[in-house]
């Protein structure tokens, strides 16, 4: 099913003084999706939200909502609502009054306001707390009030600006599930901003990975993680071991032999390389297996530097003979005989052929 476009950015640029927050930015938002803008701080992701909300005006380019340009439309007239990072709840109003604020501004009848406020509070499981002041609530509860206050207006697009970042880990996990559930339940398009890759990967229909005012890659979480467009995306999307290698032979259209500091390896890639070209291999720690040196062949040889028991996984740092260090993260399974490799032990590191990510070498920037 292809979903229709609900909002789009066309060649939008935005500067703050001399700092360029967005440059020639293009994005199509689809009806009913949960799109995440993922990137380090300062990459312009919050600016995207503020532009769509109307709290900032683009220097150039145009933004459309439901096919109509938003140029000259003030925030109060846009059918878009924001859950702010700071929540920005009105301290002088009760929880219910906070939630009802948008409806009151729309001058709806008091019966409808009451009904929709109660419904919104029920939706975020805060029924019964309507009479409290926001400051009397916990952080997680305040977060829900902010969510209800935005959702109650039934916006075309809901903008969420790092709104989970102030919560502790446990609560975050819960809220991620709850947000996803609310999004499915309401069918409203969510644009979610975060710098937390796990959050992005677990919640999104699509992720836009951003760097310095541009989208580096846009796609479903799986594409971002398994087929990153470049090294930045690969590293931002997950733990990565980055190894440099040189192409020594091309054996098939999608198969290369590369040399990694003296060790020949066969790798698979859709990308085209010439013999002699430099490239990088990105290996996810959880894709790697560690074997006793004596019992295995192939892969990369090295010795164990450090082991960390993490409950779910056993993490090992290995110094490869070729030079670089790599990190592995192995799950405990009955069929893996010996995960326990003491520091100093000689080991070999292998992975399922084809699971390596092959990217062109990028000069250091």
């Amino acid at each position: 099913m292809t979903r229709s476009t609900i909002a789009s950015f066309r060649a939008v640029s935005k500067h703050y003084g001399s700092h360029c927050a967005l440059r020639d930015f293009n994005l199509e938002l689809r009806e009913g999706e949960l799109l995440t803008l993922l990137g380090p701080s300062g990459c312009g992701k919050t600016t995207v939200l503020r532009l769509l909300a109307g709290l900032e005006i683009p220097d150039s380019g145009e933004i459309f909502l439901d096919g109509r340009t938003l140029a000259g439309v003030p925030p109060e007239a846009r059918n878009v609502n924001t859950v702010f990072q700071s929540y920005a709840l009105f301290p002088h109003l009760s929880v219910a009054e906070n939630v009802a604020f948008g409806l009151r501004m729309k001058k709806l009848g008091s019966a409808e306001i009451r009904a929709r406020t109660a419904e919104a509070l029920r939706m975020v499981r805060l029924d019964g707390l309507g009479g409290h002041r926001p400051l009397q609530l916990s952080g997680g509860q305040q977060q829900r009030v902010a969510l209800a206050r935005a959702l109650v207006n039934r916006p075309r697009v809901l903008l969420l600006d790092e709104c989970l970042s102030a919560l502790d880990y446990q609560l975050r996990r819960e809220m991620q599930l709850e947000l996803k559930g609310l999004q499915r339940q309401t069918g409203i398009t969510f644009v979610f901003v975060t710098h937390d890759r796990e959050e992005a990967l677990s919640m999104s229909d699509r992720i836009a990975v951003m760097r310095t005012g541009r989208i580096e890659q846009l796609g479903p979480p799986r594409d971002i993680y398994e087929r990153p467009a470049n090294l930045f995306v690969a590293q931002f999307a997950g733990e990565s071991n980055v190894l440099e290698a040189t192409v020594t032979a091309i054996t098939a259209p999608d198969s290369l032999i590369v040399e990694l500091a003296g060790t020949p390896l066969t790798v698979r890639t859709d990308r085209r390389f010439r013999v002699g070209a430099r490239l990088v291999l990105v290996l996810r720690p959880e894709d790697l297996h560690v074997h006793d040196d004596a019992a295995a062949e192939g892969g990369l040889a090295g010795h164990v530097l450090e082991r960390t028991y993490r409950g779910v996984t056993l993490d090992t740092v290995i110094a490869l003979d070729a030079g670089p260090r790599i990190k592995t993260s192995e799950f405990f399974r009955e069929d893996t005989p010996a995960l326990d490799h003491p520091p100093g032990q000689r080991v070999r590191v292998s992975w399922t052929p084809g699971w390596e990510i092959v990217l062109p070498h990028e000069p250091e920037t």
Binding site: V80, N81, F90, Q136
Partner: protein, 284 residues
């Protein structure tokens, strides 16, 4: 082990209590006592104990002074609020680098005695003063307008002296106002007027009340403004009190009048406490 802090605490609280007892409670009780005595021919006060002084205050003449003085103070307060709020708003939204300078400009008038400044205003408003000369020269009037010794003159003086007392608490509460709340209100569909009405005003109400108290209360008592600009026809409560003590030498009656004033002022303070509590129930 906890002996020493206990002693320190006792001494501190004791000092404070002693200070309040001797400099606040005792004088007030003296005034209360005084207000219940009669004026003695010897010039001060004596028996018998009576409520006459309070009864005399109900006299239309005095009620009129109270009423007019409250009206004057009210108008002056309102003007200070109307002038001070936009100023304080601009101050709170000015570039951080500019704010100290603007704040200094608010405070500069304090460096000159307000009495001197009131006399300066008198010079401006006098029949042959600067303002009349200007209006005559501009051809807007044919003969000098009566400006001095009017309620208007009194109000001009009060506003001039008391405006900073309005601006400073307003600035304090406007500066604390989180601009993100205004963005949230915009996002939820509130235009400029309703952002002010539903967010800015309620959240700065404590500042408004504080400013109004700091202007209204002194405005009732600034007797020299009444003397210099209002003349004998426009008395402030402050003039009434001063005259009872210094001119009429009727200390018991003056004491009764001041107690009534204090009572009214306390009522306003209670109102303030109520307003502040309504805004922030958590902070008490």
């Amino acid at each position: 082990m906890s002996q020493r802090p206990e002693i320190l605490k006792t001494v501190t609280v004791g000092l404070l209590a002693g200070w309040l007892l001797s400099f606040v409670l005792a004088p007030t009780l003296l005034v209360v006592g005084l207000s219940l005595l009669s004026r003695s021919p010897a010039g001060f006060a004596g028996g018998p104990v009576t409520l006459d002084n309070y009864r005399r205050l109900a006299d239309p003449i005095y009620l009129h002074v109270f009423a007019e003085s409250f009206a004057t103070a009210f108008i002056a307060t309102l003007l200070c609020l109307l002038l001070g709020y936009p100023f304080a708003y601009g101050l709170a939204r000015a570039r951080p680098g500019l704010r100290p300078l603007l704040l200094t400009l608010v405070i500069v008038p304090f460096w000159t005695s307000s009495l001197v400044r009131i006399y300066a205003i008198r010079g401006l408003l006098a029949a042959k003063g600067a303002l009349n000369n200007l209006l005559l020269a501009a051809g807007l009037i044919d003969q000098p307008v009566r400006l001095l010794y009017t309620q208007t003159a009194e109000i001009v003086g009060l506003v001039h002296v008391l405006l900073p007392f309005m601006i400073l608490p307003l600035y304090a509460s406007l500066e604390k106002l989180d601009p993100r709340l205004l963005e949230a209100a915009r996002d939820l569909g509130a235009g400029p007027f309703r952002r002010f009405r539903h967010v800015v005003l309620p959240l700065t109400l404590p500042g408004v009340v504080a400013g109004c108290l700091l202007v209204f209360l002194p405005a009732l008592g600034l007797f020299y403004v009444g003397d210099v600009l209002g003349g004998s026809r426009h008395l402030l409560v402050g003039n009434l009190l001063k005259d009872q003590f210094l001119e009429a030498q009727d200390w018991p009656f003056g004491a009764a009048a001041s107690l009534v004033l204090i009572g009214l002022l306390l009522a306003f303070l209670a109102l303030y406490a109520y307003a502040a509590k309504r805004i922030a129930p958590d902070d008490g």
